[in-house]
Symmetry: D2
Subunit: 377 residues, 4 copies
Amino acid sequence: MTIWSKINKEILFAKKIHNFFENSSTTANGKKSLLALCISSKLPANSRNSMSTQIQKIAILTSGGDAPGMNACIRALVRTGIYYGFEMWGVTRGYDGLIRGDFKKMDLRSVSNIINRGGTILKSARSEEFRTEAGMEKAYQQLKERGINALVVVGGDGSFKGAYHFSNKYDVAVMGLPGTIDNDLYGTDYTIGYDTATNTVVEAIDKIRDTADAHNRLFFIEVMGRDAGYIALNAGIAAGCEDILIPETKTNIDDLVVSLKKGRANRKTSGMVIVAEGDEEGGAYEVAQKVKEQFDGYEMKVTILGHIQRGGSPSCFDRVLASRLGVAAIEGLKDGQTKMMAGIINNKIVYTPLTQAAKLHSDMDDDLYRISKILSI
Amino acid sequence: MTIWSKINKEILFAKKIHNFFENSSTTANGKKSLLALCISSKLPANSRNSMSTQIQKIAILTSGGDAPGMNACIRALVRTGIYYGFEMWGVTRGYDGLIRGDFKKMDLRSVSNIINRGGTILKSARSEEFRTEAGMEKAYQQLKERGINALVVVGGDGSFKGAYHFSNKYDVAVMGLPGTIDNDLYGTDYTIGYDTATNTVVEAIDKIRDTADAHNRLFFIEVMGRDAGYIALNAGIAAGCEDILIPETKTNIDDLVVSLKKGRANRKTSGMVIVAEGDEEGGAYEVAQKVKEQFDGYEMKVTILGHIQRGGSPSCFDRVLASRLGVAAIEGLKDGQTKMMAGIINNKIVYTPLTQAAKLHSDMDDDLYRISKILSI
Amino acid sequence: MTIWSKINKEILFAKKIHNFFENSSTTANGKKSLLALCISSKLPANSRNSMSTQIQKIAILTSGGDAPGMNACIRALVRTGIYYGFEMWGVTRGYDGLIRGDFKKMDLRSVSNIINRGGTILKSARSEEFRTEAGMEKAYQQLKERGINALVVVGGDGSFKGAYHFSNKYDVAVMGLPGTIDNDLYGTDYTIGYDTATNTVVEAIDKIRDTADAHNRLFFIEVMGRDAGYIALNAGIAAGCEDILIPETKTNIDDLVVSLKKGRANRKTSGMVIVAEGDEEGGAYEVAQKVKEQFDGYEMKVTILGHIQRGGSPSCFDRVLASRLGVAAIEGLKDGQTKMMAGIINNKIVYTPLTQAAKLHSDMDDDLYRISKILSI
Amino acid sequence: MTIWSKINKEILFAKKIHNFFENSSTTANGKKSLLALCISSKLPANSRNSMSTQIQKIAILTSGGDAPGMNACIRALVRTGIYYGFEMWGVTRGYDGLIRGDFKKMDLRSVSNIINRGGTILKSARSEEFRTEAGMEKAYQQLKERGINALVVVGGDGSFKGAYHFSNKYDVAVMGLPGTIDNDLYGTDYTIGYDTATNTVVEAIDKIRDTADAHNRLFFIEVMGRDAGYIALNAGIAAGCEDILIPETKTNIDDLVVSLKKGRANRKTSGMVIVAEGDEEGGAYEVAQKVKEQFDGYEMKVTILGHIQRGGSPSCFDRVLASRLGVAAIEGLKDGQTKMMAGIINNKIVYTPLTQAAKLHSDMDDDLYRISKILSI
């Protein structure tokens, strides 16, 4: 059996699996898992790189909000690139640096002792100019000048959109890697930085618990997540919060008040409510205000965790994830893939078209939400 | 379609998938994933509880080596049990306490403020007596006396064997939960405590890196893992170790020396080698000794991380995992399951027969090992 | 030489030292040090307990804002009390619990495994009722009923005032211990909880630095300190902040802007300004607003660290401090002292009258402020 | 009053104080404090630099075992040096780099973002060659060649001896700074790195406590301290260890066994004994072995914390200490001091002749040892 016939067979089989589960009671998550397995790492011809020349030099940039593990990812990209014989270049300050020609050649030394550091040695920035034709043209000239014809972008969905358009226009292969604490990208179970951010949140809430418990207070704690409640939902369960307010579910202040009153009646002497910044009832200040109007059983305090969630030494999980994805990005480019995001689904490397990764959002885990309700009785 | 016909259809389908992949090139990991999905959460009749009486009271014990997250798991078990109307009992000191009748009734207060604590409030112990007929009989009498007819055991494979034999002999439903830092159980992608242990190891090695780097030293760091190299492999990648020695692969001292010499030639001024305690060339001391005989390019130091790996406040990941599995154990018992271990595969709850969970070992991730080699160039 | 003549000699000598340095150029800090040594641990008769009966039972309460190390302090009080043969009682929820009779007898078990925990197992509260005659009378009756005639209060200056008045009115010996993260009490170099709070702040700012550095941003970080800039000054130096705004010094927004512009000109790509909440120019939001009006060289972000500063496992320093002070409080009561606060000055136990500890504030360290200016060039 | 007459008066007064306390009952610690205050920061003529030329260029090196805070210290030295107009040079790998001419010029950028990092960017090494006449001569030529005539050495007593001899021989001003986790230097209350090391030890023992408590085990934990028990004594109190074995006191295995048996009888279910590596009964393995021969009430485990004690991000305390001492070193050199170590005694900068700092050891705190005994009942 040749490799292509095998792939075709796998795809055919995947469709069958898809249809079967479509008609069964499997959860959304289960479906995603199976589909992901079936999309598999071997992709059909139309997503393959048809560049006129072979890749020899690869540039890396980090873009959008920084996330812990970006440095571990840069290290893996550089080391893997060198391992496979590519010349590796770093671009400082994202697309902005690409336009301005802020490049440096990267060798093994360049990425020594960075695996454990938060932030990104390549710095990040948002670039308005890259959204213009002129900006993209300048960026391309900078790459061309140096003979670089592949680009790895570590960032979120905004960054992927830019990469996609750029690659459509110019003869440059692009590969995206999911680097954002929000975990809201389609095409990967986990984004780089998310695990560390949840640990940071949980450690902070553990500290607040000490003082909440000592004082019979009710705390409203706001965490990051404009569109996605991943951090709030997971950290809220892990920190034992009384309630979890996220954008994906309808927040009902009346229900919240009932639940807090019940907790009070059960002689709970303190409480903590975690609020994703994007909750439709507002951030922690607004929610606390609304609760206060209906219930004053506790002294209420508000904490906004803010930018500490973006920093810190990455967790083991994030470093391994970043390392695996860094290897996958280079190997994907080497195999001729382009306009894809490398992600991990069910512990397996999966390449998803950038258009999908940038457009679709990761689903909320309904089961986890249900569990959070059971555990907060 | 009735639920039973649906399940039968799912099982039939699972077999097909199994056969298909058995003959394809899918990795061990991919196969495990698919199989797990197909075993599914709905199980056939022969694994169902055929107890004469309905479960009303459930006892919990922790057994074997303790692991971070066991307390979060106890909390979830107690809260979920109460949520579903069961009476919940804690047994102190594992099977030993079961034999001696060391029980306490658990209410919501009993598990307040423990989600963030390492160790186990129920304490753990190994019991020789429980391996005897007489010991099991005593244990059963203790349960019978209190009208308890279900038991949740949080522990590793040794603990599961005991639970299985006990349940075969007596009219007690048992459910196992994977609580061990080693991550070496079949039937779950992650065991409770493993994620925290890897973070503890990585933080320790980060500290050693500071001093290794300041002094041009070579460190051999021994981590837990008698039969499994999970901790060593993941923490070794995350900490940027030069080499990783694990029981699952053949360790070749000559190759290690060649690689260290190469690093030295590349002007690496320091290095760290992580060694799982179960490596067939011996622990860190033995390996360091063997390397020293062939190469003295560095000053060599040995560190045995030891029991700090078992303690500490659990990570967000472990707390969420422990919470989900605690809910799953109670819901499994409620649905009539017994002699099963609740685990998570591909982010989905899966119940695996205790016999399998206790006998089979989790496979090493070959791809991760390959990656570790690429990144240590 | 009898003990009394020796003490008198020491006091006489202390006066000489005092006079000498009063006329010399020694710094405020140097003077405080010498005076403290001379006040010494042996005190004159008028501060001695003249209670009608011998102390046999001692109650402990924590009051005011909680601080890491309070539990280590409770443990030391209970263990030392038992060591010297006293019966030890814990009062829950501060003076409020004293009034309501919320007492529990404490034995060695009561304080097991609490040395490492934040918060306070005795909980804390502010009590309006204790400020009334009626409230104090109720509190006294609760103590009398149980035969308790000594009270240890762990808290800040407000708590000490209450203790002082109570002891003046009733036949109860009182001893204060400095438990507050603000480090603003006269009579001790360090208060319990301050060292841990500074570490918490520094760790948070280290995380913010990662993202500040990745993005060329200017952060304004607000820390606790209504009247005192200790936390801001020390954590600001330790975290390498560009500027430090504290209540003890005149904050000049114009100067701040000049300094930030200079930093910008020196190609500093990011910056962090730490602001004590009690700064006369306002908290971090207000300061950021005022700076923005004059300078927009950076994207500006504000972070309010809030209550995470009160929690967390205490540092080694705080645990040792809390342990020493716990021992000192019991030994002071045993030696017949009352209405005193036990503190540590120049690594030596010193007892200061509660009236002074509650009224005077600790001086700012001028030299440290000077150093912060040198290092932020 | 001229400055010199004032100093003379202070010295005269210091002698009086000295004599007074010599004949009184003040503790060793009290005496040290007073003496230190009196030695004061203004020193008599014979310890002043009599170099033929004015200092213009200053070199820095780190030597001996590395310690957390060394980087914060390098940063403070460089920034303060530049603040006062000196040209600052870094020497890599201690005296060895001095001999080989491994110098780099340091500017403000060179020390960006290092305040929070463990280890030392200048690396450290022990040098045999610097103990020879030839080695010193080479080192001097390297300095002379570059016009550098002052040297700051951050390290321990061995490093200070070298600096002292070097300065006696050549026209180079030297200033020592106490950088070692052992806290065993005369002339300072705290050495750079000691506070962080104690926190690292306490955090590790907290983790071991989790598992000790879960299993009824007795742990023997070995910490650094060849000649000094500072780390063991303070961390042992802070971690609530049952017993503390240090070089400064006679360890009696029989007494230890009696105390452990008593703990066992009191139904303590676990225990931890901290052992300084330099204890005369041997390290943790030897002590555990000896105890086992007399008492088998517990399962016994040994942990050697090893080199993790040298690394890690420095605590707030260590960073402030390192910053203050860095400023003090430059200001001391600027004021013409040489062959001194800058330290902090009673929160005041004190310059102590290198000969004393290197020869005398810091005293054990008897009172702390007494407290450890009270608290372990």
